[in-house]
C-alpha cells in the first residue's frame, strides 16, 4: 500500500503525466514495446530454431548467436524501457494485477535461462551433445519468453 502511494506520487511527474494523459502518449509507448518485442522474440526464435535444426540451418550456430546478440540486447533495452515507462505512468494498473506478477516472475526466469543456459548451448558448435537436450533447452526458452508475452497480454483481460 505504501509502495502504491509512493509510486502514485511519482506518477504525477510531468513526463509521466504526458505519457498517461496525452491522446497518443500510451499508444506510442506501447508501439515501442511491440516493436522491441518483435525484434527480441525474433532473435530468440531464430536461435532456438537453429539449436534444434529446424531453421537457419545454412548458418553455424555460434556465428548466428554472435550476430543476434547485439539485437537481442538492443531490443530488450527498448522493451524494458517502454515497459518501465508504462508501469510508472499507471502503477495502479499493475501493482495489484496477478498476470503482471506472473509476467515479472517469468521474465526473471527467462533472463536467467537465456544467459545462464541457452547462451552456453549456442556458444559453440559442438555436436557431442544429444539432440534431445537441445530440444528441451529450446522448448524451455520459447515457453519462458512467449509465456512472458502471454502473461503481458493477460494483464488487459484478467485482474
Amino acid at each position: 500500500m505504501a509502495l502504491l502511494l509512493l509510486l502514485q506520487s511519482w506518477s504525477n511527474w510531468a513526463p509521466l503525466v504526458f505519457v498517461r494523459d496525452s491522446k497518443y502518449g500510451m499508444p506510442v509507448v506501447q508501439s515501442f514495446h511491440l516493436m522491441g518485442l518483435t525484434i527480441l522474440l525474433a532473435t530468440v526464435l531464430l536461435l532456438d530454431l537453429r539449436l534444434v535444426g529446424l531453421g537457419m540451418n545454412d548458418y553455424r550456430l555460434s556465428w548466428l548467436a554472435r550476430q543476434l546478440k547485439p539485437w537481442t540486447l538492443g531490443a530488450f533495452t527498448v522493451v524494458i524501457s517502454s515497459g518501465i515507462l508504462m508501469f510508472l505512468a499507471t502503477p495502479g494498473k499493475y501493482l495489484g494485477s496477478r498476470p503482471f506478477r506472473l509476467k515479472m516472475a517469468l521474465l526473471c526466469l527467462a533472463l536467467l535461462f537465456h544467459f545462464g543456459v541457452l547462451r552456453r548451448f549456442t556458444a559453440a558448435d559442438s555436436d557431442a551433445r544429444s539432440r534431445r537436450v537441445d530440444v528441451i533447452v529450446a522448448c524451455f526458452s520459447l515457453a519462458l519468453w512467449f509465456g512472458v508475452g502471454w502473461a503481458g497480454r493477460a494483464i488487459a483481460f484478467i485482474p
Binding site: Q30, T38, T43, G55, G149
Partner: protein, 163 residues
C-alpha cells in the same frame, strides 16, 4: 447494402458475437495476433536490416531469404487468420477508424513493395555476395519496408484506443 452496413451486419453475426462474447476466445486470438509479430514482421525486419547493411552482413542475402522465408510464411498465415477474425468481430467499429484505414493502406503498399522486390530483385540476388553489392533499388525496398512496418504496428496499436 453499403459497405458500412455490411460491416455492421458482419459484426453482429452469430459467429462474430460468439467470439467477442467468449471469455477466452477473443484474448486468445488477439494474443496470437500480437505474438505472431516476431515470426512474421520480425523475419522481414532482419532481411531489411541485412539489405541495408546494418545486420547479418556476412554471407549472401539469397541464402538469408531462403532460410527466413519458411518460418515467415507460417507467421504471416497466423497474422492474416487472426487479423481476419479480429476484424470480423469489430468490423462496424473498424470501418470508420482512421488508424485502421491507414493500417490497411500501409499493408497494401507493403504487399506491392514485397511483390516488386520478389519480381525485380530476388532473381538477381545470386549476383551479389554481400549487401554492399546490392543495387540501390533493393536497398530502397528494404528501407521502405522498414518504415511501413513501423507504421503498421503504430496504427494497429493506436486503432484500439479509438474503439
Amino acid at each position: 447494402m453499403s459497405l458500412f452496413e455490411w460491416c455492421q451486419w458482419l459484426q453482429h453475426t452469430r459467429f462474430a458475437t460468439a467470439i467477442s462474447e467468449s471469455d477466452w476466445l477473443f484474448p486468445l486470438i488477439e494474443g496470437s495476433h500480437i505474438l505472431a509479430l516476431p515470426l512474421s514482421v520480425g523475419m522481414i525486419v532482419i532481411l531489411d536490416l541485412h539489405l541495408l547493411g546494418i545486420a547479418f552482413c556476412d554471407g549472401p542475402g539469397r541464402k538469408l531469404v531462403l532460410n527466413l522465408m519458411r518460418w515467415c510464411k507460417i507467421g504471416f498465415a497466423v497474422m492474416f487468420l487472426t487479423g481476419g477474425l479480429l476484424l470480423v468481430t469489430q468490423a462496424g467499429k473498424a470501418y470508420g477508424n482512421a488508424f485502421f484505414r491507414a493500417k490497411l493502406i500501409l499493408l497494401l503498399l507493403l504487399g506491392i513493395n514485397a511483390a516488386a522486390y520478389q519480381k525485380v530483385f530476388f532473381p538477381k540476388m545470386a549476383q551479389w555476395d554481400s549487401p554492399t553489392g546490392a543495387p540501390a533499388g533493393a536497398k530502397f525496398c528494404a528501407a521502405f519496408s522498414l518504415l511501413l512496418w513501423i507504421g503498421v504496428i503504430v496504427c494497429g496499436r493506436t486503432m484500439a484506443y479509438q474503439f
